[in-house]
Symmetry: C2
DNA sequence: CTAACCTTGTGACCTTTGTCACTAAATGTT
DNA sequence: AACATTTAGTGACAAAGGTCACAAGGTTAG
């Protein structure tokens, strides 16, 4: 029996995933959590074989949870489940010790198959996803990323400058660089591209 | 037996929701679709009692699907299922003839209860959600909305103008109005605000 | 030491946005 | 028909954004 903890912020989806997993006779959902923090709490009393977690959640993201599990619960494997094929995330997930990476776009049988393989000691990453992660690396510098993030939220140059303790001119240079690197037509476009890749 | 069609773009979530519903002995999932367009296709051969649909999907959104179902399949009820409590959506959904509105944040039993009540002819909307919908109404016109949507995706004035068959000046006027109405500091900010409210 | 490099900043220049006042046509109402 | 109202467009101007060349200061490596 594979004992699984399901971590996902949307209650409906969480319940549905649990229902799906419960249909399989080799799998037992032993705990559910709405975010990383709650999962961390629960892990003090329940030790599942696999922690199946979403990435984007309030309080504590799936990637932070992954880090915690890798360190504090070595017998526990982590499988990441996320919405978009964001190349940036997969890199960080693997670096953090994730054993599986499943897209919410994938068919549901695939999730079950992944869990079973991970329990057998395998590492499971969607092959095409793994490929896409190799292609493009984040070309942005830390400053460019920060500036771009704020630009994407609608802040204007002066506000970004103040927020990052830099001059307006520098911010414009950074954004200009970012726009060029991402082949975007303006800062909004650039922010959109970077966000979609998981670089923001 | 309540016959349900599940429309949701993320395969994993779709499968999980279907699994969840199938656990209830009064409910039968008779069809699944990945977006509005596919659902519309399927409706030509399968007529469920309830179409359970997400809002944000490629090709054809849940709201467009709702409109189609209301017109072409009067015996079919529609229940909207969405991620955020976006006040704007609920208004449009009700105006379009939706019979139920369920948040993905709600517990999964709530979904099943809603489906059963809708089949009995009731209209089910989360009460706190109904309240929040009364507060702020979408102040944007259709043109402003379209222009703003494109602006938020990084298109520049000239491109938006071409796309909507209007002059550049008009687009700038529309965006200017939208920015003023939403108390935003620029088009990006305005798009962000509108999106967060569910008006885009 | 010094050459090569980052990072940050400046100034100039042009393009894109945002605002506003004002037409002009189309539509609706009485 | 006369009227408001809506919808689209224009022109002008100011503000913000984007590009580029270049320079000052700090760090690093040969």
């Amino acid at each position: 029996m594979i004992k699984v903890m399901v971590v996902e912020d949307q209650a409906l989806v969480r319940g549905a995933i649990s229902a799906l997993l419960s249909l399989d006779h080799d799998i037992e959902v032993v705990a559910e959590a709405a975010d990383g923090a709650e999962a961390k709490q629960l892990l003090q009393s329940v030790i599942p074989d696999i922690v199946l977690t979403d990435i984007e959640m309030p309080n504590m993201t799936g990637l932070e949870l992954l880090e915690h599990v890798s360190q504090a619960h070595e017998t526990c494997q982590t499988v990441i489940m996320t919405t978009f094929s964001r190349a940036g995330y997969i890199r960080r997930a693997l670096a953090g010790g994730a054993r599986g990476f499943v897209l919410k776009e994938a068919p549901s049988e695939y999730l079950i198959r992944t869990l079973k393989q991970v329990v057998c000691g395998k590492k499971v990453i969607d092959p095409e996803l793994a490929l896409s992660a190799l292609d493009d690396t984040d070309p942005l510098t830390e400053k460019e990323r920060k500036a771009l993030r704020l630009a994407g939220e609608g802040y204007k140059t002066a506000e970004i400058a103040k927020s990052l303790y830099l001059s307006e001119g520098t911010i414009r240079n950074y954004l200009s660089d970012a726009i060029a690197k991402l082949n975007a037509s303006n800062r909004v476009d650039a922010a959109r591209i970077a966000k979609q890749k998981g670089w923001l």
